[in-house]
């Protein structure tokens, strides 16, 4: 019987199995941010174990609330900063150089096919887009990861989602993943890895694959994964060209990180997405999903474009296409947060920032920002936000607030109209 990608990565990293179905894996990367790491650091200090297993394998960023908004967040930043310095963690991204963790770490070339990665953040599954096993963990697992470079997992089963057909213009990875979560439900992939495959995934950019994998956790998934291919090699090339003679050689090496044809899956789902329309959530669970057409006319108070799901350059480009030469409704506020400084610079050079500003958007620094209602862009009780983020939980963006998740193009169109509506990039527009 063949093996799944997750199984191959487990086999290559297993230190031991101290108990049945308990796999202690060696870690290639431990990623850290300032919300879940400081308590791990202070606990290690309190235990007299203020050490790190390997400073070159630990990458850290301040991204959730940055620059600090008050004394408490200043303290969180300070704990991270002092710790990075104390242990010579060179890849630490602070104010001015920082951006959303799941955007900046791949952008810096820290993620490779076949890697094991943990982070104290549930959307760590994003990095599976490179053919890695990347899983969100709590602070205690993070603490042990920092200290020992290992993490224990139960063996994850794999489900495969095969995407056939061709996406219509104006329909994106975000619409696909919202549709998949609706099909799987919020609990449908718990303790499982979701493999995304098929011609639609093959055609996707790394950015789009990251959007897909990012939301695997919203179906309960441990990690989302895509098989490495030439798109993966091209994305990483600047960082790996010293290691390989040619891109073909890199591809050959990375190609081992895929499931065997006769691998055993818990389930295989096949969808033809040719007819898929832009999607949006309603309610307070990410599997409560309808087509934008069905939700057309829902009024909103705020638009948020950004986050680890949809704050990358291609997201900003699609939103800008819709916004160009237009202004947003006077009934809404628009906020855009480019996910990293590099994305911000690119958007500046391409005139995208100007388009957003002319349309009436507030452009913030790279940060998680409004996504989790901790710093800027917090909703008031009863307010509604059209958002390109990944969670519509009750109170997520502010107590008593409601969030509708959607693609950047739909969010931009919604900003102009002041109500949920399909973008004019969507061909078969059936709304107003």
């Amino acid at each position: 019987m063949g093996k799944t990608l997750a199984e191959k990565i487990f086999d290559a990293h297993r230190v031991e199995m101290p108990f049945p179905d308990t796999h202690v894996l060696k870690l290639d990367r431990v990623f850290c941010h300032e919300i879940t790491t400081p308590i791990a650091i202070t606990d290690l200090m309190a235990r007299g174990m203020d050490r790190v297993f390997d400073p070159t394998k630990i990458k850290a960023v301040i991204d959730h609330v940055t620059p600090a908004k008050d004394s408490k967040t200043a303290e969180q930043g300070k704990i991270m900063r002092d710790w990075a310095k104390r242990h010579n963690i060179k890849d630490f991204f602070d104010v001015g150089k920082n951006g959303v963790c799941h955007a900046i770490f791949p952008e810096k070339g820290f993620v490779r096919p076949g890697y094991t990665i943990i982070m104290g953040d549930s959307h760590t599954c994003t990095h599976g887009a490179f053919g890695a096993f990347a899983a969100g963990v709590g602070t205690t697992d993070l603490e042990v990861g920092i200290l020992k470079g290992v993490c224990a997992f139960h063996f994850p089963k794999t489900i495969k989602v095969v995407l056939d057909g061709k996406l219509k213009p104006g329909v994106y990875a975000k619409d696909v993943i919202l549709f998949i979560i609706k099909e799987l439900t919020v609990n449908g992939a718990t303790n499982m890895v979701i493999e995304f495959a098929g011609p639609v995934v093959d055609e996707m950019s790394m950015e789009s694959r990251m959007t897909l994998c990012n939301m695997a956790i919203e179906a309960g998934g441990t990690s989302g994964v895509c098989y490495p291919d030439m798109t993966t090699v091209n994305y990483l090339w600047d960082y790996i060209k010293g290691e390989f003679e040619s891109k073909e050689a890199a591809l050959l090496e990375y190609s081992k990180w895929k499931s065997d044809d006769d691998a055993e899956y818990e389930n295989v789902y096949k969808y033809d997405v040719t007819k898929l329309e832009p999607m949006v959530t309603f309610g307070y669970k990410p599997d409560q999903v309808k087509s934008v057409t069905e939700m057309t006319g829902t009024t909103v108070d705020q638009i948020y474009i950004g986050s680890c799901t949809n704050g990358r350059i291609e997201d900003l480009r699609e939103a800008a296409k819709v916004l160009k030469g237009k202004t947003i409704s006077e009934n809404v506020r628009g906020i855009v947060s480019p996910a990293t400084p590099a994305i911000y610079s690119k958007a500046l050079k391409e005139g995208i920032i100007e388009i957003f500003q002319d349309a009436g958007f507030c452009v913030t620094n790279p940060t998680c920002g409004a996504c989790l209602g901790m710093s800027n862009g917090v909703l008031a009780d009863g307010e509604i936000c059209a958002s390109t983020t990944n969670r519509n939980f009750n109170g997520r963006m502010g107590k008593g607030g409601t969030v509708h998740l959607m693609s950047p193009a739909t969010a931009a169109a919604t900003a102009i109209k002041g109500k949920i509506i399909n973008s004019d990039l969507f061909e078969n527009q059936t709304g107003e």
Partner: protein, 174 residues
């Protein structure tokens, strides 16, 4: 080892997420104790009053997929500092479940029938559940009567409860 016995709080809903258990706005706290007043602040459930219903509770009984969403270990900590070291549910989100055992706490899975039985017989009645760590049974007491229900947890999880969590264990072994 922590205490695994006491009065039961019944939360009758699937998919209670960690944002509901402890909202993000409190994640700027850097001590566990500071989370105490905010447990379940954003949970809106008919027949649940966050001001009154948490008092003296030590065990949570709930439905499917408890603890989904964010990886924040603040969720088990917020339970822990409120004296709740056991959650019994039909199923758990992976990260939350692991976080509970990593902290030396119990996340016990029970079949749907058992959870239905607990809700139908005990919700609304003052109920005490005790986890017998050696015999792997729950002892349920209400109205002067008691019943015993078996449960299973993996060896790794049990070891973590016994050792008081993953950090100590990992430091010894790796």
């Amino acid at each position: 080892m922590k205490s695994f016995s006491g009065k039961v709080l019944f939360l009758d809903r699937n998919d209670i997420n960690t944002d509901e258990i402890i909202p993000a706005r409190y994640l700027t706290e850097i001590t566990k104790e500071a989370l105490k007043p905010y447990l379940l602040e954003d949970l809106t459930l008919p027949a649940f009053d966050v001001e009154k219903d948490l008092e003296e509770k030590a065990i949570v009984v709930t439905r499917e997929n408890f603890g989904c969403g964010s990886s924040r270990e603040h969720a088990p900590w917020a339970l822990e500092v409120n004296g709740i070291n056991v959650v019994i549910a039909e199923s758990f989100a992976r990260i939350f479940r692991q976080n509970m055992y990593n902290c030396g706490m119990f996340a016990i899975e029970m079949p749907k029938e058992v959870i239905n039985h607990l809700f139908s017989v005990y919700a609304g009645v003052e109920t005490i559940i005790s986890v017998d760590v050696n015999k792997d049974v729950l002892i349920i007491e209400a109205d002067g009567k008691s019943e015993i229900i078996e449960f299973t947890v993996g060896e790794f999880d049990k070891t973590l409860v016994r050792e008081g969590g993953w950090v100590g264990y990992a430091d010894k072994n790796y």
